[in-house]
Amino acid sequence: MKNVTYAVVAWGMAGVIYIATHRTDTQFAMYWAFGLAFGFVLQRARFCFASAFRDLFLLGYGRNMKGVLVGLGVASLGFGLVMSRQVPMAFLGILPPSANVLPLGVHTAVGGLLFGVGMVVAGGCVSGSLYRMGEGYVASWVAFAGLMGGLLASAYTWNWWWDRSISTAPRYWLPSWIGHPGAITLTLAALAAVYVGVLVMEHRAGMVLPRALKKQEPAESVGAEIRSVAKTVFVEGWPIIPAGAVLGGLNVLLFTAQEPWGFTGEVSRWSLAAASLVNLPAPLLQGVADLPGCAFVPSDGLFFNHMIFLVVGMWFGSFAGALGAGEFKVRVPKRPTRYAQSLGGGVLMGYGSGLAMGCTIGAFFSGIPSLALNGWVFAIFLGGGAWIGTQMIRRIQ
């Protein structure tokens, strides 16, 4: 069993890094652990936000969207409870300190639209590209390079958007209008309505083959039972609903410990650091220091911070997961068009996530659970962009 050996070595290395970082800074270790967990679950379930939207338009296939909706439901309930403790008097107009209640304006819509097009054209969003980088997809590395370029372009035009839209954009937090129970109930009801919509789309498109269930045989011993459970977790692909619930739950835990899941702000820090290495002038990023979510993080000259452990952890968690399942393989696209698609899609995602202060994770998967209107507006335009992207990939062979 070569897989098991590789996986044990990889997880062993992850453990050593955890212990080493824990001695330096416990926050580094915590973010590393969260990154590993997110990456592992994304890989095991092939949890893909791009296909959640795209497959509805392309195939009338709702597997991934159902997982996303369940994750949003779990996270909305959890975030809602945490925020009701943080800001008991929601009607006073105070916003929760770390939730992704972001300025809502034209930039949210443009960002969502560009991101939606980009993720479909590139074949994966930012988290999708990260976990596929861990699985050995070369095109996803290209998409990530595009993402860094797009974030840089977004940083250099940030002030234009700041003056015209972001600086005066209001932040809408549902609990301040209808209270905590009302906001949680409304959000869960809206998610349930979308879930029904997904089922309608599936039935209109025709049959959807259920995943073949494996034959269940009673285990003969405790050892056999443990092997069977280990196989379910580490080798067989996870079903999407529990994966969505686990990702939503992990997001609540991270929010409780520190802040919502999100990382394009950190990737922007890498882009800005790379720009300063080649002596490009640092962009003046007005107002970013006071913004939550994944707003730009100016390069600070440091290499390590807690967030780098989250992003690299996601990649490594997926890598270790893929190794254990025997799913790691260097996959090289044969058609040159795919590299252009990945790069271009990545650039669009980078520009869009810069404007929207988050990607499918920060602005969407953490935005809606923040009970913030910006999450829904981003989602609608994300869907619109994904629809446009779907029409584009149908024409690119």
Binding site: C48, L58, L59, A205, G326, E327, K329, P333, I393
Partner: protein, 80 residues
Amino acid sequence: MAETLDVRGEICPYPMMRTVTALKKLSSDERALEVVTDHAPALETIPTQAARLGFRTDIEESGGSEWRLVLTRMDSGEGA
């Protein structure tokens, strides 16, 4: 001998899209298409799309994260 479509290395969702294109191009006397892929998500989307076009899918793992899918035309009346 069935025609073989090699979609290894392709990014999402092209393994499925190129399979559908190939299935639609099959002449009515061709009974089967063989697809070779290394893209695991396609193991769920290809069988569904193939079934919608009237093909049954048999998946065979060839190891090293590669799979061989044999899509066989179903006779009318044969359920998916």
